[in-house]
Amino acid sequence: MILDRIGRLFISFLASIGNLTLFSIKSLAAGFMPPYYWKQILGQAVQIGYFSLPVVGMTALFTGMAMTLQCYAGFSEFTAENAIPSVVMIAMTRELGPVLAALMVAGRLGASMTAEIGTMKVTEQIDALTTLSVNSYKYLVFPRILTGTLLLPFLVFIDDVIGILGGYLVGVYYLNFNAANYIRNTFESMATWDIVSGLIKGAVFGFVICLMGCYQGYSSKGGAEGVGRATTNSVVASSIMILLLDGILTFVLF
């Protein structure tokens, strides 16, 4: 009985992986073939790159501030306060920048992609696209995946800068660090690979969030309830994938 259930779950897991792979192949294959829907690509670029800036920036600012305070509480016991700018720099560029930006984008955009595409699916708008001779993967999915993959690294970079700035503000104006020393320590610990690795993570996370958001939208069934369920699945699956891939990529990149 238990084995039977485990077997079913395993088969259903494999089927989901297979469907997701087919979905991404279909979307990429359709997207790279002309004609290109520039208007859709530009629209998504604005959604992902521009409208996500406030939420990503706010998260980064407060995380940078909180981290500096927390580090100070610990490091001051060992008179190692000078290491704080370096720790903030490394943590933001390697880990917190990409992961936080991705989680915020997954919550904001992944959910809205699933809800929008899911509603289109259950109200037959996707069928209407097909019968009007438009490949829905090319029109709906590819622009999202492309802009997500290309623009999440940009958001990660902004996240890094604002996070480090948050740390600077708390360090200099609240903890009374010397501004010049803080900046020097920050730049001394800056490594190109730390930043680049964070941007690579951002691109992978962007691809996963948009792929999952669109896939769950396409898998929606059964009206409003089905769309709601798909939206939850999308955010949960994206978030888990982000954290899982973060671990794997950290092993691979460092």
């Binding site: 004609p35 069928d127 209407a128 696209l129 097909t130 019968t131 009007l132 001779s133």
Partner: protein
Amino acid sequence: MEYVIEVENLKKSFGNKEVLRGISLKIKAGESYVVIGGSGSGKSVLIKCILGLIEPDGGIIKINGKDTSKMSQKELFKARLKCGVLYQGGALFDSLNVIDNVSFGLIYGYGMSQKEAYKIAIEKLESVDLDESVAKIYPAELSGGMSKRVALARAIATDPSIIFFDEPTTGLDPITSGTINDLIVRCTKEMGISAVSITHDINSLKHISDRVGLLFNGSFIWEGTNKELMSTDNPYVVQFINGNAKGPFTEK
């Protein structure tokens, strides 16, 4: 005889449930064929299989004489441009206004310029008794009847040779239903477009059909002309037309 749609031995199952059990159907040019049947009898699946939205398990579907299973993806998309569809809920794109909805197939399907497509879209809106004043309105702001008209304008915008109507009058008041029925008749009789419709609305059925097929348990159990429908003593048809609770449909 020239047929716009030929379906032979079409089969489709979902899991263990056999939805279409070897359906055959032929629709002549300019003919209005109406499929009737209870909920879950396979009417929508039949239309979706013909349109290539659902892949059938077996059988042959020919649109304008060409076997759809032998068409390339490009040919299939081209063939679909010659098929207009009026979906049950309209299926207008929420994010686009009326004019962009109506001109969608012209711009993305035929590659027309926006100016050219808008001109045709306005003509099509006029042909369904709407005018330019609705052009910038979004679907969420339209009434049920207006949204059906806009959807019809979108369906005929690409000058299709066949239109599929999925329950065109469902959810509309009798007067608006009458208007939609008139528009469907205008499409078939004046524009010479062939029509395949699904409906539960008996008034609409009497109004728009040339020929009728009754689908039950995935097979056509009766087919005939509009006149024969009214005079037949087939117990299934009689129960369906009169809406009787007791009869062969409900017997187990």
